[in-house]
């Protein structure tokens, strides 16, 4: 898996074009953010983590809960 991730990174990063700061207006749009609603994303991730055997992947783990 790590090999696949490294390979994907290499392919993507090599295929990047140079984008000047004044050409990044579209990338700054709210709908292009990694999370468009942080509170909802926090709740969703908490629910998934309490109903599935997996968690994490997009940051360090936060505080725990005894969620059943």
């Amino acid at each position: 898996m790590k090999t696949l991730t490294s390979l994907l990174m290499a392919v993507v990063l090599c295929g990047c074009e140079t984008v000047q700061p004044w050409e990044r207006g579209i990338l700054a749009k709210e709908e292009m953010q990694w999370q468009t609603n942080v509170s909802e994303a926090q709740l969703r991730n908490q629910i998934y983590a309490s109903k599935e055997a997996s968690s994490g992947g997009a940051g360090a783990s936060g505080g725990g809960c005894g969620c059943n």
């Binding site: 991730t5 990044r24 207006g25 990338l27 700054a28 749009k29 509170s39 709740l43 783990s61 936060g62």
Partner: protein, 386 residues
């Protein structure tokens, strides 16, 4: 010929850099200090489907439902700092699977805990963040308190942009110390009091691919140590440590003609309990006239069962769990978000349906009779003090 870097371009650069950064701790970062204070309130309802009578002894039964209220504040402080406060209140009630037994026909059925669970949870999380020329660093403390569970967690994260601003490198570490004190009622518990520690590290990189596309990759390792058994499930016996790896990737692409953005996220998870999983999240953020935005989304999840998951117990097993959350299954969820901006306000509505089935997974295994389906609804209101 290149344009001069005027004030407008500085603004775009700051905004774009924030678009690049990875969520190092529970949310999006920004490497430019927020210009205004923003607050938000949100209410959500989580409602599990009743368990079917053919899957439970004693007939069908209601399961869990939770009311959740959330408050969010983000404010600039001094010249290069910000402070964020997140508070969540949860009110839980209902029943959950207690253990699995064998029916007269030989099929496994769940025995529910009875509609006896009543609990509330309060979580308070504060984050201070320092911003410098090419990145930021944050310190977070989170306290969570329930009748039977207390957690104290600290996390440190940082993000650093490359000189051309095209690449952002991020990292985070966290540690959590949890106390478990199960409520003593009609159901015997697996411990009277226990502790659990969770330590986690994460690294990530994100990159501008084009004027309309971003990509990111992340890798995390989590070590859990202590009482990992479910205190309320009958005869649950789990190892006292767990090592988890997760690799993730994300992609964002903006399409001019429909005025919409495509979100694609993937995560691979693996641990030393023999759990593996794949998660794919896809969303389409469609802008509409009058400052409306509608976002349909779909998620697929599949997991391999833990090596000590069985529906029916054999006392010779060193470890044993009949917890449906450790069984092999697949899950589809789908939903819709609606957002409307008016002045300094925005309102968000969302709904999600989550359904599971053993046959939807790519890994085969014993089907647990306790698999859960649920609905989630939410409404939120945000305000910016300009």
């Amino acid at each position: 010929m290149s344009r001069p870097k005027d004030e407008r371009n500085k603004t775009v650069l700051a905004l774009t850099s924030s678009a690049l950064l990875l969520p190092a701790y529970q949310g999006a970062l920004a490497d430019a200090q927020p210009e205004f204070t923003e607050v938000g309130m949100r209410y959500s309802k989580y409602d599990e489907d009743d368990i079917l009578s053919r899957k439970a002894f004693g007939g069908g039964s209601e399961r869990y439902e939770i009311d959740v209220a959330q408050f969010h504040l983000l404010a600039p402080v001094a010249d290069q700092w910000s402070f964020a406060l997140d508070v969540a209140w949860e009110d839980m009630s209902g029943a959950s699977p207690w253990f699995v037994g064998e029916s007269a026909s030989g099929s496994p059925k769940v025995i529910m805990s009875g509609a006896s669970i009543e609990d509330t949870r309060t979580e308070v999380s504060g984050t201070t963040r320092y911003y410098f020329d090419r990145g930021n660093a944050g310190l977070n403390y989170t306290y969570s308190d329930e009748d039977d569970y207390t957690s104290n967690a600290v996390a440190v994260d940082g993000a650093f942009n490359s000189e051309d601003g095209l690449t952002t490198y991020s990292a985070a570490v966290s540690t959590s110390h949890d106390d478990i004190d199960p409520t003593q009622g009609t159901i015997p518990t697996n411990t009277l009091s226990a502790r659990k520690d969770v330590n986690s590290v994460w690294v990530g990189v994100s990159r501008i691919v084009s004027k309309r596309a971003l990509v990111r990759f992340g890798l995390s390792y989590t070590y859990r140590d202590g009482f990992l058994t479910d205190p309320y499930k009958g005869d649950d016996r789990r190892p006292d440590e767990r090592k988890e790896w997760a690799a993730s990737a994300g992609y964002r692409h903006f399409f001019d003609a429909p005025n919409a953005a495509l979100h694609v996220d993937y995560r691979y998870f693996n641990d030393d309990w023999d759990v593996q999983s794949h998660t794919v999240d896809i969303a389409w953020e469609q802008n509409l006239p009058q400052n409306f935005r509608v976002t349909p989304f779909i998620r697929y999840y599949t997991q391999h069962e833990a090596e000590f998951f069985y529906n029916l117990e054999d006392p010779s097993y060193e470890y044993f769990a009949d917890d449906y959350r450790l069984s092999a299954f697949g899950a589809f969820s789908y939903g819709l978000r609606l957002r409307h901006d008016f002045g300094d306000w925005s309102i968000n509505l969302d709904a999600e349906r989550y359904k599971t089935d053993e046959s939807w997974g790519i890994y085969s295994g014993e089907e647990s009779p306790g698999l859960v389906d649920f609905w989630r609804y939410g409404i939120g209101l945000d305000y910016i003090f300009r």
